[in-house]
């Protein structure tokens, strides 16, 4: 198992390298000059040129990329061109907020979506199933910014019980969490439902019922556990979406998160912030994928055995070859 984890972490390195190369190349070929953007329209060509020199923007592509990679090895993500501060500090400040919010949203989604999915599966075509499906569809198809604004209008302006924006305490989390979760809840509910529907028709479920187990045990222990694999995949995906893609919610609720920060950085051609931010998000994605894979093994003993077997067979092969 540890072996597997180690291998996966090693395998993430070329992926992350690929991400840096891709982002770096795309930014290199994008029009728009950070030096001109910082100094504005009133700067002369010489001043812009001097700043380009200072920021190292005149270096050839390969030199820039190599010095960037060198910085990465030292844990240096470069500087934020606009504030002149280390890009790492800026990204980490935002990352904390984003992770808290994404974490809260995903927990909330799970708490709502999995029970909803189970209920609509075991009561297929009942009223509750239809209602859940409709709500899930709505959640999926509603534009993010519209839902966020409607939440603000209802809870802050009309009822006056929740603060409209910012993130300064528990109360402030409620609306953004709902806003970010809407899509996730819809996705997880639908996946739980369809996966459960598949499982509860299996023979082993019938067997469990015949054994006389209570309905609760049958559903939660036998059915849910087996239906969970695709659900966990969706949860993993939704979490990464919440980390990098909550831009609209961050903007409407004035939350200093990573997604909004990255979009602004792209607009300002703040290269090193974009590179660092994307790298951090890629890193989180790899980590989440790893955790999801490990959870598979935890839930499904067959997958766990695959890990063991592959390790064993490799050892065997090694012995034979050696």
């Amino acid at each position: 198992m540890l072996n597997y984890v180690f291998k996966r972490i090693l395998a993430a390195i070329p992926v992350l390298l690929g991400v840096t190369l891709l982002v770096f190349t795309m930014l290199y070929f994008t029009e728009g000059d950070p030096a001109r953007l910082i100094l504005g329209d009133t700067a002369t060509e010489e001043e812009v040129e001097a700043l380009r020199e200072e920021l190292g923007l005149n270096e050839p592509f390969i030199n820039r990329y190599i010095s960037y990679l060198g910085g990465l090895l030292r844990g240096d993500l470069g500087i934020d061109y606009i504030t002149g501060r280390p890009a790492k500090d800026e990204i980490m400040e935002r990352l904390g907020t984003t992770l808290k919010l994404a974490g809260a949203s995903i927990i909330f989604s799970i708490l709502v979506a999995i029970p909803a999915g189970i209920i609509s599966a075991i009561r297929q075509y009942s009223l509750i199933d239809i209602v859940t499906t409709v709500i899930a569809l709505l959640g999926n198809s509603m534009p993010n910014f519209w839902l966020a604004l409607m939440l603000i209008l209802f809870f802050s302006v009309y009822l006056g019980i929740l603060p409209a924006s910012g993130l300064y305490g528990i109360k402030y989390y409620i609306m953004p969490v709902i806003g970010i979760s809407a899509g996730a809840i819809a996705g997880i509910t639908r996946m739980t439902r369809s996966s459960m529907l598949e499982v509860i028709r299996q023979d082993y479920i019938r067997m469990a019922r015949i054994k006389g187990l209570s309905e609760f045990v049958v559903i939660v222990k036998h059915a849910l556990k087996n239906a969970l694999i695709p659900v966990i995949t969706v949860i993993g995906i939704q979490f990464t979406v919440a980390v990098g893609g909550a831009v609209v919610n961050e903007q409407v609720f004035a939350i200093p998160g990573l997604g909004k920060f990255l979009v602004d950085a792209i607009k300002a051609r703040n290269y090193q912030v974009v590179q660092g931010g994307v790298l951090v998000i890629a890193l989180i994605c790899s980590l989440v994928n790893l955790i999801v894979d490990l959870l598979y093994a935890f839930i499904d003993p067959r997958i766990k055995n695959q890990f063991r077997e592959s390790a064993k067979s490799r050892e065997k092969r090694a012995r034979e070859e050696g």
Binding site: G32, V48, R85, V157
Partner: protein, 501 residues
């Protein structure tokens, strides 16, 4: 039962009426000021950025040598008195009781440091480049001399504006440029506490402030980029003041009894940029034909939803020397015959550059149809702002709609797009324009100065190097218990004037 019911109704009525009464006064014990700005400034160092949001926060932290009073007179502030030795030499005497937030004394050393920085920094030199950084020098602890490279009439306007803030030399040198901009040290009534990136900037009252203390001990500038969120925060009382309200929110803020809309004409101007070095725009007849083909009244009403005035010249009427010269008469016949004269009887094709912006993109569409009427086919090229900025400064933009900020309320600053050294795509390359600008800068006598700028506006109009469009209005909103805060055409209201009712 009915009795109980009546008592209940009375109680609710009382509660409501108390609520109604208290709605008009400041919440008791209010000790802090929260205001929402629409963008995060890159720096608070006034010589390291040009963003109104940074200057607005800066009005609480920094102070200037002089101020401009309600009658437009320059009055002493950190400087007690000043004296012109000759056209290019001014001696300033400073107050001796002013300290910085770190406790150190404000001296002539700091003033000279600030102004020479202003003269050399690429962000501020548009206003201060006439100051001679070599020969502006300290005379004694509280006296210094400004030496000008050439006579510079806008100097006092610049010194009295938020652009001329006094920095702490020792702090800035020891902290470094970038850090000082993120944790500034000034002489103002509020000192910097912390800056949570992307979220807020916190200030608190400076105990050792030399002047009158403000009625609040804490101030927080919240960064709320989304305009509807900003106005909702104001309506729900989350902030006391919200800057830069979107046109669509004006009416609601104005009608709400809890909030007050403070609007006015900003000192900026929007114009249609024509690239005079590009064919066919290098032909004056083509440029005039394009101007004659615009129904300016209609364009402005559509694009600005009635919240702008049609520009009658190249800067706003409240700035010295404004002369109404336009707009060009809407006359399709004339436009067509001018095009024919220029050799384009069937019109031509041209690119109009714009980016995703609620006003600029509407202007592009309206122009497409208006110029289409004289056979000019407009291709709207939508790029992002970064790309547009680069193309524009490389001289590659053929036509576009621009709204440059005007740094200070002076004709020289208001005409900042016209010097020949500018890299934006106007590229008129007309020395006569530059000569008049230089003459205006160097003339102290207001009447004479106004005459020079009058001539310049006539000349620009006759050459139609660009087409002025509108003087847009702007607004911010406050809760109804805020008073004293006035609209500022520069969109940087003096936050130290905030009082609670």
């Amino acid at each position: 039962m009915p009795k109980k019911f009546i008592v209940l109704v009375l109680l609710i009525g009382m509660a409501l009426s108390i609520a109604a009464c208290t709605a008009n006064v400041t919440p008791s014990g209010k000790n802090d000021l929260k205001f929402a700005i629409d963008q995060e400034p890159a720096s608070l160092d006034p010589y390291m950025h040009t963003k109104q949001q940074g200057f607005t926060v800066g009005t609480l932290i920094f102070e200037t040598l002089i101020k401009k009073d309600k009658n437009g007179e320059f009055v002493p502030w950190l400087a007690k008195e000043w004296e012109f030795v000759d056209d290019t030499t001014i001696i300033f005497k400073l107050r001796d009781d002013v300290t910085f937030h770190d406790g150190s004394k404000f001296t002539a050393e700091d003033a000279v440091y600030s102004l020479t920085l202003g003269a050399t920094s690429s962000f501020s030199k548009t206003v201060f480049s006439s100051i001679d950084p070599e020969n502006t020098k300290v005379i004694d602890e509280y006296t210094f001399e400004i030496k000008l490279l050439n006579p510079y009439a806008p100097l006092f306007e610049a010194l009295a504006s938020f652009r001329g803030a006094m920095l702490c030399k020792a702090a800035r040198e020891s902290m470094g440029e970038a850090e000082y901009g993120r944790a500034p040290v000034g002489t103002g009534p509020m000192k910097f506490v912390k800056w949570v990136s992307g979220d807020r900037i916190e200030l608190e009252a400076y105990e050792g402030y030399w002047g009158e203390k403000l009625p609040f001990e804490k101030a927080t500038a919240r960064i709320i980029v989304e305009s509807s969120s900003r106005s909702i925060e104001l309506e729900t009382g989350g902030v006391d003041i919200a800057m830069e309200l979107a046109f669509s929110d004006w009416e609601r803020i104005d009608n709400n009894p809890d909030t007050v809309l403070i609007s006015g004409e900003s000192q900026s101007i929007t114009f249609i940029l024509l690239n005079n070095s590009m064919k066919p725009l290098d032909d004056i007849r083509v440029r005039q034909a394009l101007a004659h083909a615009i129904d300016m009244e209609a364009l402005v009403n559509i694009a600005f939803q009635g919240n702008a005035v049609v520009a009658d010249s190249y800067y706003i009427p409240s700035i010295l020397g404004h002369k109404p010269v336009g707009p060009m008469e809407y006359n399709l016949e004339k436009a067509k015959s001018l095009l024919e004269e220029a050799g384009y009887p069937d019109g031509f094709e041209i690119d109009f550059y714009t980016y995703e912006h609620p006003i600029h993109s509407v202007v592009a569409e309206v122009l497409q149809s208006m110029w289409g009427a004289i056979g000019v086919k407009v291709n709207i090229v939508v790029v992002d702002l970064a790309t547009l900025t680069e193309l524009n400064n490389a001289g590659k933009v053929s036509t576009s709609h621009m709204s440059p900020a005007v740094a200070i309320a002076d004709p020289d600053a208001a005409l900042m797009i016209w010097p020949t050294w500018r890299t934006i795509s106007i590229r008129h390359n007309d020395q006569h324009v530059q000569d008049l600008l230089d003459a205006g800068r160097a003339t102290y006598d207001e009447e004479e100065r106004a005459k020079i700028y009058g001539e310049l506006q006539d000349y620009l109009f006759s050459k139609t190097y660009s087409i002025p469009v509108a003087f847009p209005k702007a607004a911010f909103g406050t809760r109804n218990y805020i008073e004293g805060l006035e609209f500022s055409p520069s969109l940087v209201p003096d936050m130290t004037s905030v009082r609670f009712k």
